[in-house]
């Protein structure tokens, strides 16, 4: 079983994601360079946090046209699991693999803090079995305000595509306090909070590990 982490130039949570995956299941994490057009054989993909291509122009915009993205698109279209964390979420939206966009935080500033979120959809490989749980995860971003037009937001809610919602006030002014969404099929998930930063008690908790564990269960079941 192999889980690929796409390393864009400027990604900076790639190592964190790789080691979180290794903690969940040793020996299954692989780094994939975004400048290479071909994806190696993997069973799931993670697009990590950071500032791919400096986040110049718009967060995630330049990464969305990186060579690897064609492969990512085909991978997603084939129904296999793709998780975008923070910058990875921004990239997935910019690439059109997820609806909506991530605008600058309402405060106009970067925000780094722990937040609570509710899991509102189990219909993804990363949240199966976590229904209506409350997770404590950190956010760290300057562009995390989820935006889409009202019709899209209604549709997302109706379809259960809102996967995570912030508890209380959102740290960034997101529409309807949305912290993470999935595509219609449910195999592609994007989220602003960082599960890979909460996989050990020594670093403040293990809520993030639940997502990686769920993914492994999913992959095992479908293997």
């Amino acid at each position: 079983m192999r889980i690929g982490v796409v390393v864009f130039p400027g990604s900076n949570c790639d190592r964190d994601a790789l080691s979180a995956i290794e903690l969940a299941r040793p020996g299954c994490a692989v780094a994939i360079r975004a400048e290479e057009a071909e994806l190696p054989p993997v069973d799931a993909l993670v697009l990590p946090g950071g500032f791919a291509y400096g986040d110049y122009l718009r967060a995630g915009a330049l990464a969305a046209v990186a060579p690897v993205m064609e492969g990512v698109r085909r991978f997603a279209d084939s129904g296999r699991p793709v998780l975008g964390i923070c910058n990875g979420f921004q990239v997935l939206c910019e690439a059109g693999l997820l609806p909506g966009a991530l605008a600058p935080n309402e405060s106009g500033r970067f925000v780094c803090e722990e937040v609570c979120l509710f899991v509102e959809s189990e219909a993804t490989p990363f949240t199966a079995g976590l229904g209506s749980r409350r997770l404590r995860l950190p956010v760290a971003h300057a562009h995390g305000r989820y935006q889409a037009d009202a019709a899209t937001l209604d549709r997302l809610e109706r379809n259960g595509q809102v996967v995570f919602r912030y508890e209380g006030q959102s740290p960034n002014g997101s529409a309807r306090r949305i912290a993470g969404v999935r595509n219609e099929r449910g195999n592609v998930l994007g989220m602003m909070p960082h599960p890979e930063r909460r996989v050990e008690d020594a670093l403040g908790g293990r809520d993030g590990l639940l997502l990686f564990a769920a993914l492994l269960r999913h992959l095992e079941a479908s293997a």
Binding site: P9, G10, N12, F110, C112
Partner: protein, 778 residues
């Protein structure tokens, strides 16, 4: 500057012309004469530019060098001391720590965002060039009061710049200081420290290898930015409205990240003979200093330097301070491999030169020799000054007459008068929400402090704690600067900065391993500034010896003044320490709740309002006598606190800026769940000098730590304290409720003053102090 590119042969030159040429590169007439005698001829313009850069204060330390020898630099575990890319000290048999501190004061005054951003980029490259992966940043920031429009602009720009670069490149900013003081209204201070981890056996040095080796320039193409940034900008005071455009550099954290990965990949590939960052005075200083360390020469072909824009002159190419560049040396056979390794990370490596046996730095531009000077003339032969120094500090203000009362309360703050009780609660609230004490969370929450997933204790406490993957022991880091006491006694300022940095480590249970210092002063050409510099260094050195901590690196920033208005003397100290068994530390250091725990004051009990934050807050001019500084007691207090914290018997906070009442307030917030407080402060018993309520509540003094402990912990503490001869005083308890109460008791236990407020109300004032209104970060 028009470049005369052919070496001038022994032509006699009118003195006035020489002096004018020298001034254009920041040298004096005498220094120019020295250049001429070293070369045996007048330098051409390019050569003169090299001397201007390398003999600048920034590169040569010509005014400070004589004094810095006082700092102890050796200790167990020290692998590399000052003068290398970064200081290196051993953490375990497998892992070493690299640390370094730098100032970026002048660039930040001119362009706050880019000044701070490029400061962060530079310090990260310094640490990376010692072969370490940068894992943490700390930023020591000083501004004028946020009510001052210019200072507010500095504050917002600098904080955005630190975050802009650090967040993007993916090195967490885990701590620092943000101070607001009248003395920094025109001249903000931006000191940045970086910590890196490297395998214990690895040693990468800023050298060039043997003659015949190839010299490669890595990273961004060179542009015109920052030509003479170091020599001109940092070698004189700021002149308002001056056009300093050419001296400003722009940071590109994205390129910085690629360069970082490329450098570390080169280190790991084992091809490097040497590696160094390009900082002040660009290529010129990187080449000359690296060559000087080995007594070799170097030839450089300037037309091979990749350029960002056409038409740069040899002069500009040598002295440009374009960011995101590094220099390395490899064996000729390894050039192709090195370039391939760098290219894989998206970084170009241009072969620009060759190491020679000549001992000379020779620069060629399209076949022509444009500079040819002995490396030693640029480096070892740089002037060293013993500038006149006058001691003005110690006790002068204290012995003088009290200044006239300014705002109401100024005189009282130094005197004995005790204001009414209601007044005291209100004052504490106002003090907590003032820029002096207000929560720094609005600053550090704009920094990514968790990326790289090593952060065990995030910002908010006296020190941050990081783990090291695969190691049982972790690292604590703290930064402490001092700018208030130095006005009364600069030596005391040095003692304080050093001791506070180490006390902060002790509060998180860490034993100090090494320190670095950053010395921020006004013009060294003023005897009183030189006097305060010498005294502050003496204070640092005394403290470093007494607290048995080597100083493995440092930085000096002079000329922090505008129109002849100097900043106060400001030494800043960064320290790292070892935290044993770090995996279990989080629960111990960040407990769920402290309610019901006892509150004890450990250590010295002397305090004074002299130059205290409260005295400034009350509108007073700094005056009065500073409490005694007993370094032996300081050391014993640190040992006691460290043991208590490490064994899980106490949660501790330093009683620093603001005194006891604010420290108690911080202690109530040390657990996940806030606690109330119910404490008594006996006058007199609360310490020498604490004869009035204001001094008892807000007086400052060294060697004081406040701890919360449970009952068995208190018994342990009492025994340990008596063994270590550390005074102890029980103040009361933390409670489950929301009441924050301190009773100040006079003779016979009579309550002479008290503070009584809902803790949540104080917390709101404290948390909102820097948010909203004119003080907002954004």
């Amino acid at each position: 500057m028009t470049a005369r590119t052919t070496p001038v042969q022994g032509r006699p030159e009118p003195v006035a012309e020489g002096a004018a040429r020298a001034a254009a590169v920041g040298l004096t007439g005498d220094e120019y004469a020295r250049v001429v005698s070293l070369l045996g001829r007048a330098p051409n313009d390019v050569e003169l530019g090299l001397f201007g850069g390398l003999w600048s204060e920034h590169c040569s330390y010509k005014s400070s060098r004589r004094h810095l020898g006082a700092l102890p630099k050796d200790g167990p575990g020290v692998v590399a001391g000052p003068g290398e890319n970064a200081g290196v000290v051993r953490l375990s048999p497998r892992v070493s720590l690299a640390l370094r501190i730098e100032s970026h004061n002048h660039p930040s005054a001119v362009e706050p965002y880019q000044g701070a951003a490029t400061g962060v980029g530079g310090i990260i490259r310094d640490v990376a060039s010692s072969g370490a992966r940068p894992v943490a940043l700390l930023d020591g920031l000083r501004f004028g009061p946020p009510s001052h429009a210019r200072a507010l602009g500095h504050f917002r720009g600098v904080v955005a710049g630190v975050g802009g670069y650090g967040n993007c490149i993916g090195v967490p900013t885990v701590g620092g200081e943000t101070e607001f003081e009248p003395g920094f209204a025109e001249n903000p201070l931006v000191n940045v420290m970086c910590l890196g981890y490297l395998p214990a056996g690895r040693r990468v040095r800023p050298v060039l290898g043997a003659p015949g080796s190839a010299v490669l320039l890595l990273g961004a193409p060179t542009g015109r930015d920052g030509v003479h940034g170091a020599s001109l900008l940092a070698s004189r005071g700021l002149v308002p409205e001056d056009d300093q455009r050419p001296a400003v550099q722009v940071g590109d954290p994205f390129h910085g990240k690629r360069l970082l990965e490329a450098s570390l990949a080169l280190v790991e590939a084992g091809v490097l003979l040497g590696l160094t960052d390009l900082g002040a005075a660009g290529l010129a200083s990187a080449l000359a200093e690296a060559a000087a360390r080995q007594g070799v020469g170097v030839d450089v072909w300037l037309e091979r330097v990749p350029l960002r824009e056409a038409g740069l002159t040899p002069y500009e190419i040598l002295l440009s301070e374009t960011q995101e560049r590094m220099l390395c040396a490899v064996r000729l056979d390894d050039v192709a491999r090195a370039r391939a390794v760098a290219r894989r990370e998206g970084v170009e490596a241009a072969e620009i030169g060759r190491v020679t046996e000549t001992g000379r730095l020779r620069a060629f531009f399209r076949e022509a020799v444009v500079a040819d000077v002995p490396v030693a003339a640029l480096t070892e032969a740089a002037p060293v000054y013993d500038r006149p120094a006058r001691d003005e500090g110690r006790g002068r203000a204290a012995d003088g007459p009290l200044p006239p009362a300014g705002a109401a309360g100024a005189a009282r703050a130094g005197g004995r008068e005790v204001p009414s009780d209601a007044d005291l609660t209100g004052r504490l609230r106002a003090f907590l929400s003032s820029p002096w004490l207000a929560s720094r969370r609005p600053v550090y929450r704009t920094y990514d402090f968790e990326v790289q997933t090593n952060t065990v204790v995030p910002p908010g406490r006296d020190a941050a704690v990081l783990r090291v993957r695969g190691e049982a022991d972790g690292v604590a880091l703290a930064l402490a600067g001092e700018s208030r006491y130095g006005r009364l006694d600069p030596r005391y300022g040095g003692l304080w900065a050093f001791a506070q940095a180490l006390r902060s480590l002790a509060c998180l249970g860490a034993r100090p391993l090494a320190a670095v210092d950053c010395l921020n002063f006004a013009s060294p050409e003023r005897p009183e500034v030189m006097g305060s510099f010498r005294a502050a260094v003496a204070g640092l050195a005394e403290a470093a010896r007494a607290l048995k901590t080597p100083v493995v690196g440092g930085n000096v920033s002079f000329y922090n003044e505008t129109d002849g208005r100097p900043i106060p003397p400001t030494p800043v100290v960064g320290a790292v320490g070892r935290v044993p068994e770090v995996a279990a530390a989080r629960a111990r250091l960040l407990p769920e709740s402290l309610s019901g725990w006892e509150v004890w004051l450990l250590g010295a009990q002397a305090a004074s309002l002299a130059a205290s934050a409260f005295q400034f807050f009350s509108g007073g001019v700094p005056h009065g006598a500073l409490p005694p500084f007993d370094l032996a007691l300081e050391r014993r207090v640190a040992i006691l606190v460290r043991q208590a914290v490490r064994q899980g018997r106490a949660v501790a906070t330093d009683v620093g800026k603001g005194g006891l009442a604010p420290a108690l307030f911080r202690l109530t917030g040390a657990a996940r769940e806030a606690a109330g407080a119910d404490c008594d402060l006996p006058l007199g018993a609360a310490g020498e000098g604490c004869h009035d309520a204001l001094t008892a509540l807000f007086g400052e003094g060294p060697s004081r730590v406040l701890v919360a402990t449970d009952e068995p912990g208190a018994r342990w503490l009492a025994r340990a304290a008596s063994r270590l001869r550390v005074p102890l005083l029980r103040l009361g308890r933390l409670s489950a409720g929301d009441a924050f109460r301190i009773r100040v008791r006079g003779p016979h236990g009579r309550v002479v003053a008290f503070v009584d407020a809902p803790r949540s109300e104080l917390a709101r004032a404290w948390e909102g102090g820097l948010e909203g209104g004119d003080g907002a970060v954004a």
